[in-house]
Subunit: 495 residues, 2 copies
């Protein structure tokens, strides 16, 4: 038996166990690659991957070290006696092999894979193998089976509420932070909307990061329910709710290797929203040559898939296809987006019109989930809730309930203005270029980093006019962002 | 700038960097998944994956910790000043995505992928993604491009030697340690044979483990060349030769996720043997219902592939298809195999006949690479070299040159006899069952662990006769091995 020790190292997803090379119990000389072990002594065995330590300052030969993730799962105090055995790859890896060979997997096989992922028997490379295997060819029934498995049994129960609404965007567009505005409008109307941020991210800041400018976002299930039943709305991070755990682990891998497919994004969205107990879901698919979904044909294929899975899972879904040809609003990055959102909610004259209109359109569609509302009235009702300040009041209530942020985040102190080099009209703004630039300047890490678009499509410009301003909080990021601008490209098409 | 610190932790393959959560320079609050970084300050940037530390006992906030693999690559002393930037996935991951979508990749794309793997820009999950992507469909030309890229530019130069021979087995059979015997015979004949152990393993002990019972196996390129030019033979581990580095990293991932394909094994064998400067290569494909290659049709397909790649790389390959229906020799595990090998080399009466015959057959084929030898004479010459004791002498020379092992490894002290439960004749022995049992009883970890087959196919047995004996060095392994025997199966078909 070895003594349990917590090594406070976070790997973000994998369970890692540390053993001293001179461990008297387990001979490690012959281990040449990452080795799977099973640790006994707790309530259930914990799976982990072994790393070898050559210093007694980190771990003694009679100790077994666990990283933060594994130690938490073990549920024992430091110093507890534990034993370990080598363990083969998860049994469901044979299904992954079958999928690689081009087979169609059964519902049971998907359930087993997801269960093995949840108990952390899959390493990141196993998860990546699974993702690539399902990435080449998967039937709608397989995607349904995967979605149901990912949703799991732990579903938030909203009691007597007949409609619990939410919205999600498939394929993020820079600056598209309609989420906070539409939540405020829907909550002001009185439909419960527990807005959860989807796991699928791409390095951009999420609307949870924007919400953090105003309030905390880490509610547990109990606080979430209490708040939504009282205030009708909430904006929370999925991480704080213990639902759809396997989906989070898969998303972590996807964020790293960039191999996520749109089909997989559909399973992630539907699984997490279903686990959150959503009954009515609006899904927005922005389409554009530089968006994730390139054309309406692809969007239509995804709509059919979403509708099929939604129907089979008894989830009421409404899919809208919107214009994703360019960034929405002016600000990209949490602080700048928070500014745009507040302009819209307080009916400021310089509020970005495109952001406001998109929020009203989507909020209107959600309001029409209500059978009491006459068809086609959603937009008008949403507009009135915004104009009258009721949406703003609802947002204030939500912010207060979630805990108002004490310290105001500041815009990055390193700035650079990108100016037009010719006279003309802005014909196009390249989404992908702006996304990439906003990631590089640090907007995923620092709330104050981002891009402020001064000009939008249709604006007339004269050479020397500022097109946009970059904000960074860190000189590394600032220099990094500068490198993509050096070859004369700036993402604007002016002629 | 941060101060460099070596954290003596081995992950076996990935470069890991450790940063304290309170690091004053890099803000880590928003990092939610494993993050790729690029570390500057050394001769070339080193790529690593970030983990977060919450204890100053492990790493101070002003330090950057590197695990053993990354620290070695950094090539700087502890305390050196280094900086870091976040870095996107390796550029060649776009080719992996293209492969996942069913495209045929170019030679240049394979070269770029292998180069990025070698510089450790691929995480294990990236490598797994690549493996799965090439696992479903790859053309012979793509496999050739991959093999050439894996071989790399660092090729051992054997000067004026016209023939440098080696042998490799595609799909290991338990106990099949002909390698040491045939090396001794070929060296005794005078053909240079620098035998390297292939990277592709399956948890069984390798012939390098068996060789370690007699002598050291970690020669560098210089010592290897000196020894082979003088003694004509060597048996070394690839790890100690700095060749085909990317292949080692890929094999490490394959050993873990068990997703290797036979095509990928072909690229690994040909790339490493070509990098070792081999001019003439004998490849043995054992075929059997419980071997890796199930039938002659599959073996023939692989033979054609090997011949095609070999020809294009100007490697002289001879492919033989052999009987892989059951274990070869009596012992499985390093100590027991070493015993069998010495019995054959010293012409003992109880030497396992099948092991001896297979070694002679293969050695004969290698000898016939020599143009001076008359066709069909190889086997006879090999038999005479063995009978006369010249092969034994050559082995003694090789052992002496590689450094005779001082302490004799002992057989495991935990033993269990598996006895026949009926009278009859042994009709079949199940390779896969015996392989699995030998892995479970610890033969991959401990040289003294293994299985000693007392009965072989064709032997008459009476109920109660010992079929085989299991040896373990560790009570965990011993118990683990016992579990597969509990349901009445023992791998023997007696009737």
């Amino acid at each position: 038996m070895l003594e349990l020790k917590h090594l406070p190292i976070s790997s973000f997803s994998e369970n890692i166990a540390y053993i001293h090379r001179e461990c008297p119990i387990y001979k490690l000389d012959n281990i040449k690659s990452m080795t799977r072990i099973e640790i006994h002594g707790g309530q259930t065995p914990v799976y982990a991957f072994l790393q070898i330590v050559d210093s007694s300052k980190i771990i003694r030969p009679d100790e077994l070290g666990l990283n933060t993730e594994a130690f938490r799962q073990m549920g024992l105090a430091e110093g507890s006696k534990v034993s370990l055995t080598l363990t083969p790859p998860a049994p469901s890896m044979s299904s992954v092999r079958r999928k690689i060979s081009g087979n169609i997997l059964s519902d049971k096989e998907y359930a087993e894979i997801v269960s093995d992922i949840e108990s952390r028997r899959y390493s990141n490379m196993d998860i990546a193998s699974f993702l690539v295997a399902i990435g080449s060819f998967t039937t709608p029934n397989e995607l349904l089976a995967l979605t149901e498995a990912l949703r799991g049994d732990r579903i938030i129960d909203w009691g007597s509420e007949e409609i619990v609404a939410d919205h999600c965007c498939l394929g993020e567009i820079p600056g598209n932070k309609v989420d906070l505005i539409l939540t405020a409008i829907v909550a002001a109307y009185g439909l419960p909307i527990p807005k959860t941020v989807s796991c699928v991210s791409n390095g951009l800041s999420s609307f949870a990061d924007t919400m953090k400018i105003f309030a905390g976002t880490d509610l547990d299930v109990r606080s979430l329910k209490k708040q939504v039943l009282e205030k009708r709305g909430a904006i929370v991070e999925l991480d704080s709710l213990e639902i759809a755990a396997a989906d989070k682990l898969i998303s972590t891998v996807e964020q790293q290797n960039g191999l996520s497919t749109l089909e997989r994004a559909v399973t992630s969205i539907l699984a997490t929203k279903a686990a959150a107990g959503i009954s009515h879901l609006l899904i927005d698919i922005p389409v554009g040559p530089r968006a994730k979904v390139k054309n309406t044909q692809e969007a239509m294929r995804l709509r059919k898939l979403i509708e099929y899975i939604g129907d089979m899972m008894e989830l009421n879904v409404d899919v809208v296809i919107t214009d994703g040809s360019e960034p929405i609003g002016n600000g990209i990055g949490a602080v700048l987006e928070a500014r745009d959102i507040m302009k819209v909610l307080t009916n400021k004259e310089d509020a970005p019109e495109d952001l406001k209109e998109k929020a009203l359109f989507l909020a209107g569609r959600i309001l029409e989930f209500d059978p009491k509302l006459r068809g086609g009235q959603g937009y008008v009702v949403a507009k009135e809730l915004l104009r009258s300040g009721k949406a703003f009041d609802a947002m204030e209530q939500i912010i207060k309930s979630q805990g108002k942020t004490k310290e105001q985040a500041q815009l990055g102190h390193l700035t650079r203005d990108i100016v037009a080099d010719v006279d003309g009209e802005v014909k196009k703004i390249d989404n992908m270029f702006i996304s990439r630039l906003s990631v590089l300047c640090g907007s995923g890490q620092y709330p104050g980093a981002g891009i402020d678009l001064v000009k939008k499509t249709g604006d007339k410009v004269t050479a020397g006019d500022i097109l946009y301003r970059i904000y960074s909080c860190n000189s590394n990021d600032f220099a990094f962002a500068g490198t993509v601008l050096e070859n004369g490209k700036n993402g604007f098409d002016i002629s």
